[in-house]
């Protein structure tokens, strides 16, 4: 008995010593990420997984989203001025911002205008030595946000002032500059690598001004960062940040429960309840900035008749979809904008679920024996975790009002391509996740420019389109919001889509993680996070 007690005491002593030693050495936060980053030069890529591992820990932007919101705050730019005609943006840069100093690069100067100009010029100027520094380099987000045609020139006014001259007024410009592709990289480092004939390293051993600096990356296994002691906002509370790449969702969950990681993204919705019940864990949740929809082809009869589209919308039982497909991790959508977005029009009433009325409306519209193809995406997306299942439920709902629906699907690339066709047969399940927290980013999907492209409803409504175009030229958010609210009314009246759902994102973590803030754009960020005992 005495021996037993002694042994227990000894064991306890050893384990406490081990914990103390570990605790005292460094605060390490382990994040079980869902995949490998494609690289570390953010602007080359478009995947959120890459942004999590590159732009957020390593770099800063001129302006940034306030953590947990889509509001923009000053970052590497202390302040900015926009000319009255909306064509000139002048940024005053923050002095004294340091770049990371590592065993592969020691900066000789602080951040300045040259870094800003370099970071954008390499994306827009084909003659820039870093425009094609890796084979097949393409700057897809920069292109997608229409930057090549929008930015006429970028000038260095002096070392700490940069001016962007635009070809047209663009209200979302500041929000665009908070996006990941607009991360600021070190020109000095780029020049040094160019001189050494080793430009490829720019994408593999990154240097930025961000809260963490790069230590090592082993593909598909682990990324290591350490806190940047000279970070301009002050050193982060955690000392080391580790991304333990764990692609399988069930395994991530086991690792979190076993304490092998502190935070995991993308849990299986069915497991959320059991994780909430676990005293060692906490589960945060937030409405995702996304929308899942069914886009009719408004150019094909009888779906060119808004009454028919409305009738079909009224036949869809969204609650059943939320229960079966989202398993509770979603909310019904009535607008094309998610509710967390400014200018969301909450006064709009959703079409009620009413199969009898829907049937009557179809009869009134003179439509009988209607059949429709429902396209189901082959992939899982936050806005639609199981499109096949969703399509089956919609099929059954349509059958209840006498509409025969057939489900079709293609490989993802094919699906995206074929669904653009003007003569497409059927309604397409698809969705959108916000890029920059600007309503235009969502509503532009329904603009006349997008017909035959991103506008899967092939819907060109002059009233709606004019509101969108006008809003883009206005500087005041209030004025813009009023126009977007009107646009949502037009949308509801015309019903080019059946808006299905906005997802709710869950983020399970260990109970001792504090200060984590969920990001509406779906990015995972660890500055400001701490670990308690």
């Amino acid at each position: 008995m005495v021996l037993g007690r002694t042994m227990k005491a000894a064991l306890l002593g050893v384990s406490l010593a081990a914990i103390a030693a570990f605790g005292a050495s460094a605060k390490t936060l382990v994040y079980c990420s869902e995949g490998s980053p494609e690289g570390f030069d953010t602007a080359l890529y478009t995947a959120g997984t890459t942004f999590d591992a590159s732009s957020r820990p390593l770099y800063n932007r001129l302006v940034e989203f306030v953590r947990g919101t889509t509001e923009v705050e000053p970052a590497l730019a202390e302040s900015w001025e926009i000319s009255d005609d909306g064509l000139t943006y002048t940024f005053k840069l923050r002095p004294g911002v340091k770049f990371h100093s590592t065993d592969y690069f020691t900066p000789s100067r602080d951040f300045n205008a040259d870094d800003v100009i370099f970071s954008f010029e390499r994306q827009r100027n084909a003659d820039n030595p870093y425009h094609q520094y890796v084979d097949g380099a393409s700057w897809e987000y920069f292109n997608y946000m229409s930057m090549p045609s929008l930015i006429e020139s970028i000038e260095k006014v002096d070392d700490m002032i940069v001016r962007f001259n635009l070809s047209r007024p663009e209200a979302p410009m500041i929000a665009n500059l908070a996006m990941d592709f607009a991360s600021i990289l070190s020109k000095e480092y780029a020049d040094q690598l160019e001189a050494a004939g080793n430009k490829q390293q720019f994408n593999q051993q990154p240097i930025g001004t961000g809260p963490f600096q790069f230590v090592a990356y082993q593909p598909d296994a682990v990324i290591r960062y350490k806190a940047f002691a000279d970070y301009w906002k002050g050193k982060t509370q955690i000392d080391d940040l580790v991304f333990a790449i764990t692609t399988d969702q069930a395994v991530r969950q086991q690792k979190l429960i076993a304490g092998e990681c502190h935070v995991m993204p993308y849990p299986n919705p069915a497991d959320v309840e059991s994780m909430k019940a676990n005293p060692d864990l906490q589960v945060m949740e937030q409405e995702g900035l996304n929308v899942g929809y069914l886009a009719y082809n408004t150019q094909q009869a009888p779906f060119d008749n808004a009454m028919v589209r409305k009738a079909l919308n009224m036949a869809i039982n969204k609650q059943a979809i939320l229960d079966a497909v989202f398993q509770g991790a979603g909310q019904a959508a009535k607008n094309p904008l998610p509710p967390t977005m400014w200018s969301y029009n909450d006064d709009i009433e959703d079409d009620p679920y009413d199969p009898d009325a829907a049937k009557q409306m179809l009869a009134d519209a003179g439509v009988s024996d209607l059949s429709i193809n429902v396209w189901a995406m082959p992939v899982q997306r936050p806005y639609n975790p199981n499109a096949r299942r969703m399509a089956e439920l919609i099929q059954a709902d349509f059958a209840a009002i006498g509409v025969e629906a057939e489900i079709v699907s293609y490989e993802w690339g094919e699906y995206l391509e074929r669904s653009k066709a003007l003569d497409r047969d059927g309604a397409v399940l698809l969705g959108w996740t916000g890029d920059n927290g600007d309503p235009d980013n969502f509503l532009a999907l329904l603009g006349c420019d997008g017909v035959g492209g991103a506008n899967r409803a092939q819907w060109c409504n002059e009233e709606f389109n004019a509101l969108l175009l006008e809003a883009k030229t206005l500087g005041s958010q209030e004025e813009r919001a009023a126009l977007y609210k009107q646009a949502q009314e037009v949308f509801k009246r015309e019903a080019p889509w059946a808006t299905i759902a906005h997802s709710v994102v869950h983020m399970p973590m260990r109970a001792n993680v504090t200060g984590y803030v969920m990001d509406p754009l779906g990015i995972h960020q660890f500055d400001g996070v701490d670990l308690t005992e």
Binding site: F22, T28, V30, G35, S36, E38, G39, L44, T46, V134, D135, G136, A137, S138, E140, N143, Y144, Q200, N203, Q204, V215, A216, Q218, P219, D220, A221, V222, R224, V242, A244, I245, T246, T247, D248, A250, V251, Q254, K255, I257, A258, E260, Y410, E411, W412, G413, E414, L416, E417, K420, L430, G431, W432, T433, G453, A454
Partner: protein, 335 residues
């Protein structure tokens, strides 16, 4: 022996060309387009699409693309990944040691357990031991890897807490890779506990990946042993009064091993297939997982390059097995 070697190597050339064609065609026959996948829901304008097609060289005639790729293969240039923009060869060799280490441990595990189990089953033929071993082998052979892996993780890592859930080593240990083999690197690192951590991370994936080969080897050993045990020379050996362990362990086993060695060689292909799933479950940073991800992304250069590299390795292993076979059985190299 040289002629034997030469005849085997000559066969490899048409096989290699065949593999290169299949690898090239396979990924292109799948529906889907890497450029469209990269663009995703955001989509691309037609002009931008055409620009990217030209940038990747996909706008050239397919034969030209193939010849270009073949010329690259022959000069050791496997191209760059469409997704990560890194050299395929570099990506392959940064992951290959992880797969090799796991496969090696799995095959050693399978052989060390499978051969004695098969021998025991053969010697005790018809007994309850034989039936249990063969029954277990059948279950092992039929086990879906994904399910089996998760089951072990939940039991040993989740409930019992004996082994880590996934990865190659605890994040507490950090050292630059020297050989790429975690067991060796962790031992070389001199960090206390690193080697133990590496071993503990290897246990579950080794068992999962080794299960199917273990079952196959056990069954093959059993049937080969049964055949050999009925041979005249074994009866003679017994009649001479040799102790049973000498008869079984020396006379019978040596001859029974010939088909077993072939089986082990053939398991390399099976291991590669199994590695794809095992690596996915255990977040093992090897080439199996890399290939699966690349197929989903339609990363043409990675899939075609990776397939050729894997196929070449399997061909070389089989060549090695053929040579080994010749060593064990002189009749084969004479023929």
């Amino acid at each position: 022996m040289l002629r034997f070697l030469f005849s085997r190597v000559i066969v490899l050339i048409p096989t290699f060309i065949g593999v290169s064609i299949i690898a090239f065609a396979f990924i292109r026959l799948l529906p889907g387009d890497p450029i469209l996948l990269i663009a995703g829901e955001r989509g691309l304008t037609e002009e931008r699409y055409a620009e990217l097609q030209a940038a990747y060289g996909f706008d050239r005639p397919i034969v030209v693309q193939y010849l270009d790729y073949l010329a690259g293969l022959l000069t050791g240039d496997f191209g760059e990944s469409i997704v990560t923009k890194r050299a395929v060869l570099e990506e392959f060799f940064s992951r290959f040691p992880a797969t090799l280490e796991l496969s090696f441990c799995a095959i050693v595990f399978a052989a060390l357990l499978g051969i004695p189990a098969g021998m025991l089953a053969a010697v005790k033929r018809g007994s309850i031991i034989d039936q249990s071993i063969m029954g277990t082998a059948l279950v092992g052979f039929s086990m879906p890897i994904f399910w089996w892996g998760l089951l072990l993780i939940i039991l040993f890592s989740g409930v019992l807490g004996w082994t880590p859930v996934s990865g190659r080593i605890s994040f507490l240990y950090f050292f630059p890779p020297v050989t790429g083999f975690m067991l060796i690197d962790s031992a070389l690192s001199g960090q206390e506990g690193a080697f133990r951590s590496a071993v503990s991370h290897l246990i579950l994936p080794t068992i999962v990946l080794g299960t199917i080969p273990l079952a196959v080897i056990a069954r093959q050993t059993r049937s080969a042993m049964l055949e050999v045990l009925g041979e005249d020379y074994v009866r003679t050996a017994r009649a001479k009064g040799l102790p049973p362990w000498r008869v079984i362990g020396l006379h019978a086993l040596r001859n029974a091993l010939i088909p077993v060695v072939t089986t082990i060689g053939l398991q390399v292909g099976v291991l590669m297939a199994g590695a794809i799933l095992t690596e996915s479950i255990f977040s093992w940073p090897g080439i199996g997982k890399w290939m699966v991800d690349s197929v989903f992304r339609r990363d043409y250069t990675v899939v075609q390059g990776g397939l050729v590299l894997i196929a070449t390795l399997i061909m070389l292993v089989n060549l090695g097995v053929d040579l080994l076979y010749g060593l064990i059985n002189p009749r084969i190299r004479r023929n």
